[in-house]
Symmetry: C2
Subunit: 172 residues, 2 copies
Amino acid sequence: MAKRPADPTNGNVPAAHQVPMRDFSRSLPMSLLRAREAVMRQFRPSLREHGLTEQQWRILRALAAIEAAEVTELARTAFLLGPSLSRILRDLEARNLIERKTAKTDQRRSMVSISKEGVKLMASVAPTSEAIYAEITQRFGARKLAELQEMLGELEQSLAGLGAANEAGAEE
Amino acid sequence: MAKRPADPTNGNVPAAHQVPMRDFSRSLPMSLLRAREAVMRQFRPSLREHGLTEQQWRILRALAAIEAAEVTELARTAFLLGPSLSRILRDLEARNLIERKTAKTDQRRSMVSISKEGVKLMASVAPTSEAIYAEITQRFGARKLAELQEMLGELEQSLAGLGAANEAGAEE
DNA sequence: CGGAGATGCTTAACATGTTAAGTGAATGCG
DNA sequence: CGCATTCACTTAACATGTTAAGCATCTCCG
């Protein structure tokens, strides 16, 4: 309700009265967060109808294209941290959407794969999901979308290995 | 640790053996998530040293530029949901970083403002934070950064009001 | 062979995201 | 005025993000 014209400058920025910093609403993390939320807002209702969260869906999608994967590999693919993945896999397994079996060569590793039920669920969600993506693509423009993704990739690349500098000289 | 050349295609995509969908790693939400994480990874250590989380920092920044704000307004500015904000404000207040007092005209509203201590904390964090932002800007390119932000804003705009379609015809 | 260290994964603990429900205060309307 | 509705905010409940420990298993080197 009270849907204002979405003014990102907040209308009346009263000239930072204390600590001088960049305009808050224009920070890069904020822009990325807002953009992502705008996109995900489109998908969440559909996923919810199928009893899936965003992350569960990510995992199923990753598995559907990979046949079987180790947990660590899956974490990398679905871009989830180990602990999150661990919990989600436990739940998905309880719902019989995935299957798990320890590798024969290494008892530590476990191979995860999507189950028949999981595939069925995916098949029932995918059409809507694809339709939404198509709508987004059309609204924003396919060309621009490709450009945006390109820039995002470059951003990621340009920051890769920047945070690894704390391995030299930091005891604690 | 086995830092591969960051191949987003996962190297060996075995032609989706079940449900056909876009290449997972190239979905827009994923690109946005990865980009944002790459950026935030740079800031988190510094914030952590000062005992602040990303969201707490967002709130302090928003408050520092606004003098005082209602909770709802603050939620919009810091892009947080009400419940999250409610919890965080409770904690920040307990740490004396913010102050709160109910509005005289409307007992429901409460005005939030940053405290003297909060300002001090901000002042101690801001320099590092700005330095990191400058480094990111330099690495990625100021021009490109502006372009990226522009596109992100357009994306947000083009999706605004798309999710509001469920107000017509949906009883439950 | 054996034990120290590395590895793969899980648990734990705390903070936030997300949705729904609850609570007290203000509004509007008969 | 009375009372249902709306509003601003908080609580609750569950899922994930994030960091640190814990626990087997595996590797490697003496």
